[in-house]
């Protein structure tokens, strides 16, 4: 039995501990906001927070997160920080096909948790593990900087 905190709630998973975290999130808990883009940790679409740190959920077995605190986009979107980020992504025009965006929002959250006033270089570095094929990244960078300004005090 694997117990961990998922979006603020204590949960249990009784299946194979080698099951990928992404599969447990999507299939057992129905949290489909976490996307599988590549299945090998290259694209970042499956990013979640594990104890506040950005983690690709396709690369870790659920057994490894025993006792950890996991936050997905479904958890983040209910918070003031999450609402601010999502709002700024929409306002800045950062969303196109959208498949990478929940992961991008998680990467932005991970950045702002440790640096509440990032500059453009900080932002580019922070999202460099998240591939977006649509936007060319400029408007995503704008969105994250906008969130850090509009949401001053939240992080």
């Amino acid at each position: 039995m694997i117990e961990f905190v998922l979006n603020g709630r204590q949960v249990r998973f009784s299946g194979n501990p080698l099951t990928r975290l992404i599969d447990v999130l999507r299939e057992d808990f129905g949290l489909t906001g976490t996307k599988e883009g590549c299945g090998e940790g290259e694209c970042g679409a499956c990013s979640v927070l594990r104890n506040g740190k950005l983690t690709t959920s396709c690369l870790i077995p659920v057994g490894a997160v025993c006792g950890d605190e996991i936050v997905t986009i479904e958890g983040l979107r209910e918070t003031e920080q999450g609402k601010c980020l999502i709002d700024c992504f929409a306002e800045a025009g950062a969303v196109q096909c959208g498949f990478c965006i929940p992961g991008m929002v998680m990467a932005a959250q991970a950045l702002l948790l440790c640096n509440s006033h990032p500059d453009e270089d900080d932002v580019r570095l922070a999202i460099s593990g998240n591939i977006c094929r649509c936007t060319g990244y400029d408007l995503i960078v704008d969105a994250i900087i906008m969130a850090s300004e509009k949401g001053a005090g939240l992080w």
Partner: protein, 708 residues
């Protein structure tokens, strides 16, 4: 109330960013089964035997034998040559042989490993040169040429070249490019209300039903296709979803339970269509002052084993082969070569990027030989309104390339930098010019597509019904904005959902940069008619595309006005190269585009940024090799697409040049923005290192070879 110039939010931004949007992979139906494809592992050969292990209860292996008698084993794309299932022989690595279906994906993967197929292998033709040499014997009836065409203008090109003071001849090659839409290809087939129904990530739901209906002897309208939120496409989901839908339909016919097929990334990478590799031979005659007398161009595209849409891709390549220039004479001969690679198909730009890259780079090389600035050289030949095109038609619209050049030159400091940075100094700046003919070629919008759109008023709600899909480009927002602006109502008063072929008229494919220009115009017209009837409770208005008079086109001879409205572009790229390691740092990107008029500047901004980065990836890092029919890059670890760290923030601009027949003056732009940054990048790189580059991609590790 929204006005066309207002800054607005995309209609789908919040639901996507918050993870609420449902893509195909997020959908589950009761009693749903999964599917895995069994594919050819060789490029060419005869199937001797297929050995399937004993299947557990509830598992199926579906093949060509499951297609009902009398029905054709073919997908009806533009041609009907692509087989739903390989049968008897295989023609490329990855060709579908069968579909394994059952309740557990893990079990299916294990079964897939244990299917044994015995082949009698034949010598395969992989490259364009292989196909020219008909290696291994003809793939088609008598040779390896799927399709060909010739366009010309001016006098006899052989005579002109024989009288030239100087001939510059070279061969320019471009590679495969993989779409890497973040959402892989995916579909579900089921039966709803007694009818075969698809949920599918795609650009063109009407293409899907037309393509697969014949497999069961049905009519297209017997099948229902519902597009699901689509996570990127770039052409990769224009015809290719048919390749998933066909086997799924045959399986559904046999099993009659919902079946879901989702490609993993490796499958999507190596078993999907790509951009056509090209080989372009250019021969240009100059007079004693270096002026161009004429050009003779041969264009070869590697189409792969099946034709799919390659003939149309090749046509567009040929029609764009003179770039944005008016040469006194030209002859362009295009050949679509059959090989034993995975079929090539649509990819943003649709055949134009290859020839545009070739002509830009060729002119850069001529200018370098003549020791004149390439931009000064190219601008002498800029097309103008009324100029004759390579299809014996004319440029219909006002061309404002000079204005765009000035805009970009001023922002980038091009002329100062071009003079200051010595060739081979490690610093370089390059500039390119390009265009993209909007919508289907010639009168195809009227003669082939016959686009329809319906606008329905129910009280204060207005519903737009058409087949155009949202795939990230913003069309669900754009079309609402057009209608809301005309009607002077709120965006929220307009309903426009993902298309369902049972509910909407066929407004043609979401492709060819036609959606805003053609279907947007139909929506604008419908809204204008609606505006006269706002006092009525229930109104239905249907509009149909009509080609403007006086612009004839002959689809048999390819003569006439190929495109009424082009998008035009100018891009500039500056690089710094470490001369020891060849590491390239792009330090500036500037662009200007003529898209008529922007319907939504923020959406256009995103398209410009994204298109340019995709083009820079194409030129630099996106290397996809094929050895013996197998793609060597199988994942996102070895096929590298640009990250946020690879290119700097772009400066961009538009010029105002409203298009007579577009909504609010808008023209197509989704593909245009892909069509030129590659050449600007290579131009800059050549100047920085004083090298001549004749192929892309040119990743850092290949630059040393280009120097030699």
């Amino acid at each position: 109330m929204v006005r066309i110039d207002d800054r607005i939010r995309r209609i789908d931004a919040i639901e996507k960013a918050s993870g609420k949007a449902k893509y195909l992979c997020d959908i589950s139906l009761d009693g749903m089964l999964y599917a895995r494809m069994v594919r050819s592992t060789i490029a060419r050969g005869r199937i001797v035997s297929i050995n399937v292990p004993p299947l557990p209860e509830g598992y199926y292996f579906v093949t060509a034998d499951d297609i009902p008698e009398g029905c054709a084993n073919s997908l009806w794309m533009i041609a009907k040559d692509w087989r739903c299932f390989a049968s008897g022989d295989v023609r490329y690595v990855g060709e579908t042989i069968g579909l394994l279906v059952g309740p557990s994906l893990a079990v299916l993967k294990a079964l897939e490993e244990s299917v044994r197929i015995e082949y009698e292998e034949m010598e395969a033709a992989i490259s364009i040169d292989d196909a020219i040499a008909v290696k291994g014997g003809p793939i088609l009836e008598k040779d390896d040429i799927h399709c060909s065409l010739t366009s010309q203008k001016g006098g006899d090109i052989d005579q002109i070249l024989s009288g030239a003071a100087q001939i510059v001849e070279e061969t320019i090659e471009t590679g495969f490019q993989e779409h890497v839409h973040l959402e892989t290809n995916a579909a579900i087939c089921t039966i709803e209300d007694g009818r075969y129904t698809f949920y599918i990530s795609c650009q063109c739901p009407f293409y899907v039903r037309k393509s697969v209906a014949g497999l069961l002897g049905l009519r297209p309208e017997d099948i229902r296709v519902k597009q699901t939120t689509t996570g990127g496409a770039f052409g990769g989901k224009e015809h290719f979803p048919d390749v998933l839908a066909g086997p799924l339909l045959v399986a559904e016919h046999k099993i009659r339970k919902p079946i879901k097929l989702v490609f993993d990334r490796e499958e999507d990478m190596i078993y999907s269509v790509k951009r056509h590799p090209s080989k372009i031979v250019l021969k240009t005659g100059l007079d004693s002052e270096g002026n161009i007398l004429g050009s003779d161009i041969r264009v070869y595209y590697n189409c792969g084993a099946y034709l799919s849409s390659s003939y149309v891709v090749l046509q567009r390549g040929v029609f764009h082969a003179n770039g944005v220039y008016n040469f006194p004479a030209t002859r362009i001969r295009g050949y679509g070569m059959a090989t034993n690679t995975f079929p090539s198909d649509a990819f943003r730009g649709f055949g134009a990027p290859q020839t545009l890259f070739a002509i830009e780079t060729h002119l850069d090389h001529i200018a370098a030989k003549l020791k004149v600035d390439p931009v000064e050289y190219k601008r002498r030949y800029f097309l103008r309104q009324g100029d004759e095109t390579v299809t014996e038609g004319h440029i219909v619209e006002k061309v404002v390339l000079e204005e765009m050049l000035n805009q970009v030159a001023e922002k980038s400091g091009y002329f100062r930098k071009a003079a200051e940075y010595r060739r081979g100094s490690g610093r370089g700046i390059g500039m390119s010019f390009y265009n993209h003919g909007g919508a289907f070629t010639g009168n195809g919008e009227q003669s082939i597509i016959k686009a329809h759109l319906r606008l329905v008023k129910d009280g204060d709600r207005f519903t737009i019904l058409c087949g155009q899909t949202e795939m990230g480009q913003g069309f669900r927002t754009i079309l609402r904005k057009i209608v809301a602006s005309v009607l002077e109502v709120d965006m929220d008063d307009i309903v426009y959902d993902n298309p369902d072929t049972d509910l909407v008229p066929d407004s043609g494919p979401t492709a060819a940069s036609r959606s805003t220009m053609i279907v947007g115009r139909l929506a604008e017209e419908a809204a204008m008619q609606m505006k006269e009837r706002m006092s009525e409770e229930h109104v239905e208005i249907e509009t149909e595309y009509k080609h403007p008079e006086g612009h004839p086109w002959d689809q048999d001879t390819f003569k006439g006005d190929a495109y009424l409205g082009y998008g035009w572009g100018c891009a500039c790229v500056e690089v710094e190269v470490d001369k020891l390691t060849n590491e390239v740092k792009v330090v500036g990107i500037w662009s200007s585009h003529d898209i008529g008029r922007a319907i939504d500047e923020l959406i256009v901004h995103g398209q410009v940024n994204g298109g340019i980065v995709q083009s820079l990836g194409y030129a630099s890092m996106e290397k996809m090799e094929n050895r013996g029919g197998h793609f060597r890059q199988t994942s996102m670890s070895d096929y590298v697409v640009p990250t946020s760290m690879d290119f700097p923030r772009q400066e961009w601009g538009l010029v105002d040049n409203p298009y007579e027949w577009g909504p609010f003056g808008a023209k197509g732009m989704g593909e245009l923005v892909f069509n030129g940054a590659d050449a600007a990048y290579i131009d800059a790189l050549e100047r920085a290192l004083d090298v001549t580059i004749t192929r892309i991609p040119m990743p850092v590790e290949d630059i040393e070879g280009a120097r030699a």
